[in-house]
Each structure stands twice: as C-alpha cells, then as structure tokens.
C-alpha cells in the first residue's frame, strides 16, 4: 500500500497499535534542556526509575543562559539554579550534557543537526515546541510536555495518536530578497496560526527542494506556529551532503547502510494526504508581522488589514493585538522606526543566516537609533563565524555578536526587549510580552532584519539590494 513519508517513519516505530488506544511510538532520540526537564527527572526519582536509554538522550543548556560572559557564573539566581540542576540530573542519570563551556553547547535545535544527531527516518522529541525543526532531515520530530519527557525517560516511548497528514507544496522560483523565512511566514499568514492543528505537514515542491538544509530547518521550525504537530521534508542529496562527516553521523559501512534506507524515505506518488495546499513562490514577498500571533503577517509593502474586514467574532481580539503593537489598521509599516534588531533563535541563527546578514551589511553601518544583537545558535556557529571573519564585519557595522543561546527569543534570560520598544526579530513568536514585558515584536527574515538595522526603520530589503 502506498504511504506518505510520515506514515513510513511512523509505522517503522510503532511498538504496539491497538484499537481505542493511542499507538506506543518508539523514540530514537530525546533532546532535553534545563527548563522542561527538572520536573521529569523528579518524577523518575519518585517512581524509583532510571532513564531507560541514556545513550539516546542528549542535553544542553540554552533557554536560561546569558549571551555575554558565559564562563562567569549566571547572575540571576533562579536561572543559575535551573542550569545547575540540569548538570546534576544529567550526572545522576548518566545523560550526556553539552553545557556552558562545552564546544558543542548551543540551542538544542541547532546542535542536533550540526552534530549529525538529527538523521532521516528518526523519531525525535524534546520538551520544546520547535522540535519540528529536525523534520528538515526527513525525521518525525515534535515538541512534548514535561509529563511526556518523563514518559520518554522511563520508557523510550510515547503514547501518541497517529496524526493526520497535510502536504504543502511551494513551486517555482523565489524573487530577489525572499528567503525561507518569508515562505513560512507567508504560509502561516495564509492558513492562520491554527490552520495546521492536528496535522503533520510535509513540505514539498520545487521551491522547497531548491533550499539548503539551513533554510529547510527555518521552514520546519515554524510548523508549530500554525498549530501543526510537526513538519518534514523528504531527504535528498542536499540532506545527505549536509550530514556526511558530521560528529555523530554514521560513517563507513554504517553510512552506506543508512544511506540505502534514507533513499526509501519519500511519500509514494499515489499516497493520500488528508489535506493538500499549493502555493506559488513568485507570489511571496519579504514578509513582516504586524500583530501578536505569527499568523498576523503580510508582504512588507502591504497595508495592515482593516479591523472592519475581520470576522465579527474576531474583531475584538484583532483590535487588541493592534492596540498592543501601537499600529493603526489599514496602514503601512514601511518607514516605521525600530529600536532593536534581534538576529538569532532556533529559527535563524545558523551559519548561513549569519553569512547572509554579513554579506548584506558589509561596508554598511547600523542606524544610530537601533541596538543590534546577533546571537549565534551554537558554539560551533560562533566559531565558524569567527573563522570566516564575519565577526569583523559585524563589529564594523556596529552589530553586537554575542554568545550562543535562546537569547531575546523568549524573555527568560538576561536578553530582553524593553517595554514599548519595537524589535524586528528573526525569531518565531510575536506574542504579547514574548521578548520582554510589553515588548513589541515584528517577525521577519534575517535580510529584512538587517535592512531595518541599517536604515533604523522598517524597510523593503529589495530597495537596498543591487539589481
């Protein structure tokens, strides 16, 4: 019987399937971090259980870490305690930890792929909704809650109902100044912040196939922002080339065996999806969000939709969002002054993102009214950026290159956007207060963020690119 890619991987991991019950799904790799794991470790202690497969579990510290002077003790007491607790728990339960100071430390969804831990055909989970990132390699990867973290610790399995499948095809060629972040913000704006709920999404089509692995990760990363359980892309030569030679990737005979399997990982031509959507790459412009959920996005030249045009029941929530942002409906954002630019997060902090920004800002300088933070996704990305001299370019432009972590994506560590300030951010969420109490977030691509940094206002990056 023909199957979708999700079904192929899912079926290969079902330990038990019984009518009326969720499937028992085997989990190949469990990634953990300091925020969503302590209560799960505590649960194991209470039950007197070990971590069943510690070697299939990998830990890092990312959400709470400072991005300056990382080798000094963390100033904030509760953050320090939580990070210390992770160290203690990992040591007690025999889990490998890439903590602060380790050359592999970084955002959990950046280090998995770059270390060759993320592989096609795997099932991967993490107590973090952006686990969908790993789907870029053709893996089933999704975020879970802490009770489920404990479940995977104890059993290496999860009780999960098989998700519905959706295919989103993007065909054709992207225009100048338009990248992966614009594709995904465009899709979310089209189908809304809840449009993917209940589904596992497979991204396909010529525009997706043409993307690099970094760009594919940006797309899959934001699947959760339309409510989807996860998103994936069938592995191809681009995937295999990226994985080969990485720290924990299979090598030698193991590589050949793995590759042969990976090449079977695609949706069969006549496989049935529960839903199929098709978009044309040429319709996508550089995107920007104007509201307080990622579905409130538009092409940068467009006007914010009128409140009057919203469905009656949604008008109140819609107007509340615009009030929070301090924007008028039916107005353009072009030329609006910004205070901060944040380039980082599990969505856009990989070496390719930093290269793109560096290439754009070379011989330019940031506007005086803007503070610019560039936060690499991992120690390896940071090192690579320095090896390539990107740090010098950023310094000359007045951009601050910091140390790896989740940083200003979530207002949990020291990096917060002050109340009322506008931040053009390459992260994934523009929720109220997400980047700091009463901070106002405008989500955009690294290029659009860099353009705002240079001009000090919302700018169509296409106006600044050489034609």
């Amino acid at each position: 019987m023909s199957k979708t890619l999700v079904e192929k991987i899912w079926d290969a991991h079902v330990v038990k399937s019984e009518e009326g019950f969720p499937d028992i799904l085997y989990i190949d790799t469990h990634l953990i971090h300091e925020v969503t794991s302590p209560q799960a470790f505590d649960g194991l202690r209470k039950r007197g259980l070990p971590v069943l497969r510690p070697k299939q579990t990998v830990a890092t510290a990312d959400h709470n870490v400072p991005t300056l002077n990382q080798l000094l003790p963390i100033k904030e007491e509760l953050s320090r305690y939580q990070v210390d607790m992770l160290t203690k728990n990992c040591s007690e339960f025999g889990v490998e930890l890439y903590g602060l100071g380790h050359p592999f430390q970084g955002i959990v969804h950046v280090i998995g792929p770059e270390l060759g831990i993320t592989l096609p055909g795997k099932t991967m989970v993490c107590g973090d909704s952006h686990t969908s990132t790993h789907g870029a390699f053709g893996a089933i990867a999704f975020g879970i809650g802490t009770s489920q973290v404990e479940q995977v610790f104890a059993t290496q399995c999860l009780l999960q109902s098989k998700p519905k499948t959706m295919k989103i095809e993007v065909n054709g060629e992207l225009g100048q100044g338009v990248g992966a972040k614009d594709i995904i913000l465009y899709i979310i704006a089209k189908i809304s912040a809840a449009g993917g709920t209940g589904y596992f999404i497979e991204y396909a089509g010529s525009a997706i196939e043409a993307l690099s692995m970094e760009a594919r990760m940006t797309i899959c990363n934001m699947s959760i922002e339309m409510g989807a359980r996860g998103g994936l892309i069938a592995p191809d030569q681009t995937t295999f080339d990226y994985i080969k030679g990485r720290e924990f990737a299979p090598a030698g005979e193991e590589w050949d065996k793995a590759l042969a399997y990976w090449k079977t990982l695609y949706s069969d031509a006549d496989a049935k999806f529960d839903s199929v959507l098709t978009f044309d790459a040429k319709d996508i412009a550089p995107m920007i969000t104007y509201g307080t959920n990622p579905g409130m996005g538009m092409g940068i030249q467009e006007h914010i939709p009128a409140t009057g045009a919203q469905p009656e029941k949604e008008k109140l929530s819609y107007q509340k969002a615009l009030d929070y942002m301090g924007f008028d409906d039916d107005s353009s954002l072009i030329g609006k002054p910004v205070d901060y630019v944040f380039i980082g997060s599990c969505t856009n902090s990989r070496i390719e993102d930093l290269r793109e920004v560096a290439d754009f800002v070379k011989d330019k300088r940031k506007a005086d009214n803007v503070t610019v933070w560039i936060v690499p996704g991992s120690k390896q990305v940071e090192q690579q950026a320095k090896n390539e001299g990107l740090d010098k370019i950023f310094e000359a432009a007045g951009f601050q290159l910091r140390e790896p972590g989740c940083s200003a994506c979530l207002g949990m560590n020291e990096d917060k956007i002050p109340a009322g300030k506008y931040c053009v951010s390459t992260s994934n969420r523009n929720f109220e207060g997400r980047q700091g109490q009463n901070a106002r977030t405008l989500l955009a691509s690294p290029l659009t963020a860099a353009a705002a940094a240079v001009t000090g206002k919302i700018t169509d990056v296409r106006d600044l690119l050489k034609r």
Binding site: G20, P38, G43, L159, N293, L410, N438
Partner: protein, 195 residues
C-alpha cells in the same frame, strides 16, 4: 494523577482568541524546578501591573467571577509546549478549560495532569459566554462519564469528544507511564527486532 468525574461550577470567562502559553505563564516564571506554585503567575501580565497591583479590568480580579471552569476563545494554548501552562491553570484552582478549539500540545499536557480540556462548538461557546454575561454566577455541569457539558440555567447541553483511553485515565487517575511500563517487554522486543 488527579481524578476527574463530574463537576458543577460557575465559570471564569475569557473571551479572547489565540491565547498562547506565553500569556498563560510568561517565560520568566518558568524557572522553578517543581510543579507547584505556578498559579499565582497565571496570566501574569494581563492580571497584574508592573508594580504587582491587580489590573481591575481583568476577569480574574473581578470578584463577580469565580469557579473551577475557565472558558476561553478558540485556539487556546497555542505556542510553546510548556506544561507549566497546564500546571498554572490547575494550581489557580481550575479543573476544566472550555474552548471551541485547543492547540494540540496544550491539550495533551492538560490531559496528562487531570485538567479536562473540553472542546465545544463555536455556537455553544457563544451560548456559554452569553449566559455568563446575563448572570455571572451561571453554572456549568460537566459530566465526563457521559461526555456532556450543560448550561444549568438554560438546560442547553452539548456532548464533547475525548479519546476513550484518556477518559479512563482521568476517571481512574492513572497516567501514561503506568500504562507503558506494563508493556516494557514489547519495547525490548522492538529494540531487539531492529538490531
């Protein structure tokens, strides 16, 4: 895990759509390493001013409204996977949340903690909001066994869906780990089978 069978209670209405888990419990309050105490920071930035004074216009600060059922607009619990959101709602005294649509991860987290997420139709949700508008003490009756929710005053009733396995977990107060641990032999066989 906390058991759930039947409940009759007034409600706390929050007629806002797309309430994300960052609103339910902002990230800066996720630093605790136990499950307790998150309730005081539930809806923190909607509920309190920066100087910790309660905001008078927020429903939880209005003594007219109380109860064990939170009623909210569609796509409740979207965003971050933080289970702290479910813990905070429960810790603040709620046993059930009603919406016309729940985000997947939140729904799973709630069920795993004995907090019942009840998905009703848009129409029924409007009826609930209307009933509470007319009479803030208007009560709902939730019956998990029969999978129904009733507006006591009007008698209007709707049934809701729940996975039968999850339903039995809630009624009996057992969790997924208890269930899977019983299948440990199968897990080991599965691992051996893959070499």
């Amino acid at each position: 895990m906390k058991k759930f069978t039947k409940l009759t209670s007034a409600v706390v209405p929050l007629n806002i759509e797309n309430i994300d888990t960052d609103q339910i419990i902002p990230a800066r309050f996720l630093k605790a390493t136990t499950r307790e105490g998150f309730g005081e920071n539930l809806f923190r930035d909607w509920r309190y001013e920066n100087d910790n004074q309660p905001k008078a216009d927020f429903v939880m600060n209005n003594p007219t409204y109380s109860g064990k059922v939170l009623v909210a607009g569609k796509n409740f619990g979207c965003g971050s996977s933080r289970e702290h959101a479910a813990w905070a709602i429960q810790d603040a005294g709620f046993d059930a949340v009603i919406s016309s649509f729940f985000a997947d991860i939140f729904k799973g987290n709630a069920l795993n903690n004995g907090l019942l997420p009840i998905q009703v139709s848009e129409e029924f949700l409007s009826q609930i909001f209307k009933a509470v508008d007319n009479n803030p003490k208007s009560a709902l009756e939730v019956d998990l066994e029969n999978q129904t929710v009733t507006i006591v005053e009007t008698g209007a009733q709707e049934s809701f869906e729940i996975n039968p396995y999850k339903k039995s977990c809630l009624i009996n107060g057992y969790d997924d780990i208890d269930f899977i641990l019983n299948q440990k032999k199968l897990i080991e066989e599965f691992e051996e089978g893959r070499g």
